[in-house]
């Protein structure tokens, strides 16, 4: 599967990262819960 397929906007991307448990987005703070997973998405194109 193409990484990010169906993700068209930044808002979609953030929602996707939240749904994977990578990112927590509170009102005033971002928290990256899984840095390794974030880097996988960012640099290796691993969608899992």
């Amino acid at each position: 599967m193409l990484v990010g397929a169906g993700v068209a906007t930044v808002e979609d991307a953030v929602t996707e990262l939240k749904s994977r448990g990578i990112l927590k987005w509170a009102y005033r703070t971002f928290e990256i819960l899984d840095v390794k997973a974030l880097r996988r998405v960012a640099y290796k194109g691993n969608s899992s």
Partner: protein
């Protein structure tokens, strides 16, 4: 250099140095060069929303950010970067001899030191290590810009967002038991200030996503 000014500069530096971002320009400067830049210069109080630099204006001062979180934006609505304590802004127009290429706005923080552009360059030229540091910083920014341009062509939106988040976390994040966190700078999709100041002494930049449609 006048002894009183020198002492005042040393005290000012000493008060803020610990909060500067690791790898920032000011953190890497040799003490003598930093004191020469700071001594006798006016300080600017950074109220949230205050524009230190406005895109299109003629070049003027270089600002040394002692305690700050700033956004760098370009018209019409592009958020280019964050700058925090230890960084400098305004040097590009001085070096090019042109106009300001972007707008730099305070989001939180307290203090910047304004150095006239020609004085800044004269002092930098007096200290070869400072000149190397400035060149290295500009080279790094150019490399970042190239990476982003390549990402824009080659990566999906999801990958670009993930890369930007990873980069922000690396530069400004604060590791904790639950993961990596950074305190937000309250900006909307257009880089406008939305809320009050945060603690910039921690040197944390941030990003509030909202409806931002660029990555």
């Amino acid at each position: 250099m006048c002894a009183a000014r020198e002492l005042q500069a040393k005290q000012l530096i000493s008060r803020h140095r610990k909060s500067w971002r690791e790898g920032s320009f000011l953190a890497g400067l040799e003490p003598e060069a930093l004191e020469a830049l700071v001594a006798g210069r006016p300080t600017t109080c950074l109220e949230p929303g205050k524009q230190l630099i406005v895109e299109g204006d003629p070049a003027g001062d270089v600002f040394l950010l002692f305690d700050a979180v700033m956004t760098v934006t370009m018209r019409p609505s592009m958020l280019l970067a964050f700058r925090v304590g230890g960084d400098i802004v305004g040097e590009m127009a001085i070096m090019e001899g042109g106009t300001r290429s972007a707008t730099v706005t305070a989001r939180s923080g307290r203090l910047a030191v304004a150095v006239p552009g020609d004085t800044f360059m004269a002092i930098i030229e007096d200290y070869p290590d400072a000149r190397k540091l400035l060149d290295s910083m500009l080279s790094g920014r150019l490399r970042d810009s190239d990476k982003r341009r390549a990402d824009f062509r080659a990566c999906s939106v999801l990958q670009r967002v993930a890369r930007e988040l990873a980069r922000l976390a690396e530069e400004y994040g604060q590791s904790g038991p639950g993961g990596t966190r950074w305190h937000p700078v309250n900006v909307d999709a257009h880089g406008n200030h939305a809320e009050g100041p945060r603690d910039a002494r921690r040197g944390r930049g941030g990003y509030r996503g909202g409806r931002c449609d660029r990555a």
